[in-house]
């Protein structure tokens, strides 16, 4: 382990390695637990919100604590079911998926068929490593890997996620999955361009390519899309340039958010698995746990995307009135946890937005999707960079 740490931080003091080791381990495990629980409840939220939109009830029966235990401890289930009903659904779903028959069709290419589900979810989880999900706890930065090229790391790792979909489609050796994989490859590659280009203005403004620096810039100078909200005092900066710069930031926010929908294969861009055309798309031939991994991967990618948007544009863990934690005292410790809570509340709000969009808009046609990506977003993102450069250079 020491070798790995020295490999990652060549100039590190060897004496501080054990401390670094266990804090990193604790942060990784903690974040993974939070994210995996969030994934299962995002699925639940999706079902409840969709039923709300469609005037249905949705899964509202599976109790939490599961009805039987509730009766044992004298809790009257009837009193609580309108509020807590359905909260046990994710557990029941997980058990159902685990216990289903693990069926591998005879015509698939076995090796690739087996590794494909893991690649998708792996890429989504690894990207979380560079996202600062809180301020500090006891002087320790709440980010697993504070590297100087955070956004590039996220793009690089998420661009590897496409291998999962491509291999799933190809190794299934059947027509619909293959069509889904082909669609998804071209979709992901097309939208990666606008995704990457649209965040360039932010880093031009901040002048650093580090996500922790970006967050502290937002704490000092206001959130990227709401510059009035700062830690210092709630006032708008005075110069003309600081007002004009909001325009390219808003453009980049809109382009980035829509491209993120395409990258995570969410409606209105869920062409790779469009049920009405492709049965199930790239995971048609999958069942049981391997299907569950694809499913989890999709929702983990949603959470990664939301965390990334919250970090870039919405001030990450900062909220007006809540000071930064991190001081080695009880108050500092509590504030540190509150900051983490604020971050995840913002992420959840964005996830609900994702879900509401899915059940509101119809699916795009494939040529419309490609046209949107290449003819509009790519150009808008490029021009936006020039606009930012002009404002930064010529307007004081």
């Amino acid at each position: 382990m020491n070798a790995i740490l020295q490999f990652l931080h060549p100039l590190i003091d060897p004496a501080s390695i054990p401390f670094l080791l266990w804090t990193t381990l604790a942060k990784s495990i903690g974040l993974l637990c939070i994210v995996l629980v969030m994934v299962s409840y995002t699925v639940y939220a999706e079902r409840r919100v969709s039923s709300l939109i469609q005037d249905r009830l949705g899964p509202n029966r599976t109790g939490f604590p599961l009805s039987l235990f509730g009766n044992l401890f004298g809790i009257k289930w009837r009193d609580w079911s309108p509020i807590l009903g359905g909260l046990g659904q994710p557990i029941a779903d997980a058990v159902k998926l685990l216990l289903k028959e693990e069926f591998t069709p005879a015509f698939v290419k076995k090796f690739y068929f087996w590794i494909a589900p893991g690649l998708g979810i792996g890429a989504a989880i690894v990207s979380l490593a560079v996202i600062p999900f809180g301020s500090k706890i006891w002087g320790v930065d709440m980010v697993i890997a504070n590297i100087d090229i955070g956004p590039l790391f996220v793009f690089a790792i998420s661009s590897l996620g496409v291998y999962g979909i491509v291999l799933a489609g190809w190794s299934s050796n059947s027509k619909y999955p293959f069509l889904g994989a082909v669609r998804s490859t071209s979709q992901l590659i097309s939208y990666e361009l606008s995704l990457g280009l649209s965040v360039v203005p932010l880093f031009m403004i901040v002048g650093k390519l580090n996500l922790v620096d970006l967050v502290s810039y937002q704490v000092q100078n206001g959130w990227m899309i709401l510059p009035g909200i700062t830690a210092a005092k709630p006032h708008l900066p005075g110069t003309l340039g600081s007002y004009l710069i909001i325009v390219p930031i808003l453009i980049s926010f809109i382009v980035f958010t829509i491209a993120m929908f395409a990258e995570t294969n969410r409606l209105p861009f869920d062409l790779p698995e469009g049920e009405t055309e492709l049965v199930g798309g790239y995971h048609t031939e999958y069942s049981s746990l391997k299907f569950a991994l694809f499913f989890l991967g999709e929702y983990t990618a949603m959470i990664t995307g939301s965390s990334f948007i919250v970090t870039l544009f919405l001030g990450a863990w900062h909220f007006p009135g809540i000071p930064e934690g991190g001081a080695p005292s009880l108050a500092g410790l509590l504030l540190g946890f509150v900051n983490i809570g604020v971050f995840f509340v913002k992420v959840i709000a964005f996830l609900l937005f994702f879900i509401a969009i899915r059940w509101t808009l119809p699916r795009f046609r494939y040529d419309q999707l490609m046209k949107l990506g290449w003819i509009y977003f790519f150009e808008i993102a490029l021009v936006n960079i020039f606009l930012t450069a002009l404002i930064l250079a010529f307007v004081p």
């Binding site: 100087d148 790792i157 994989a181 490859t185």
Partner: protein
């Protein structure tokens, strides 16, 4: 950097590089090349060239190889898998590769500076800032020229891929 990890990543890079050539299945070849790129990215990262390392993953493993894979899957190549290995070609290839490798070893053994250990560089800025300063400062003209070259190439592609020229 730790020598153990250097050897591990060097082995990954070279091993999967060899697998790229040896595999008869084109998809397996392309995937091996992608893993080889990942090993190379890790080697760059270990030299504190994080920017190059990540760009290696982003551009080569994430975009170029995916396009390769895409084309290979669409073409559905089977000819390579069915083709027999010719003994004469195999022997010729091995002999030439062996001669080349022995040449490299002979040259490197008589190159004393290769064993010299250099102190780690201490750079004033992060990696990406250094690259930006060098690229847009010292090498600005070549950078602009390459930009024009790529523009010409992409216009050429658009012209060539149009079915009807008016």
């Amino acid at each position: 950097m730790s020598p153990t990890l250097f050897w591990i990543f060097a082995a990954i890079t070279l091993g999967f590089g060899a697998a790229t050539l040896i595999n008869r299945n084109p998809v397996a070849s392309a995937l091996s090349l992608a893993v080889s790129f990942l090993g190379l990215a890790a080697l760059f990262t270990s030299l504190s060239a994080t920017f190059i390392g990540i760009v290696q993953v982003l551009v080569y493993a994430g975009a170029v190889m995916v396009l390769f894979l895409f084309i290979i899957m669409l073409l559905d190549l089977k000819a390579e898998q069915r083709r027999q290995v010719r003994l004469s070609a195999l022997i010729g290839g091995v002999v030439i590769a062996g001669l080349f490798a022995s040449q490299v070893v002979l040259v490197l053994r008589h190159f004393p500076k290769g064993n010299h250990e250099f102190p780690p560089l201490s750079l004033p800025h992060p990696d990406a800032v250094n690259i930006g300063l060098t690229l847009f400062g010292h090498y600005n003209l070549p950078f602009q020229v390459i930009g024009v070259l790529i523009l010409v190439a992409s216009i050429g592609v658009v012209v060539l891929s149009k079915r009807e020229l008016n």
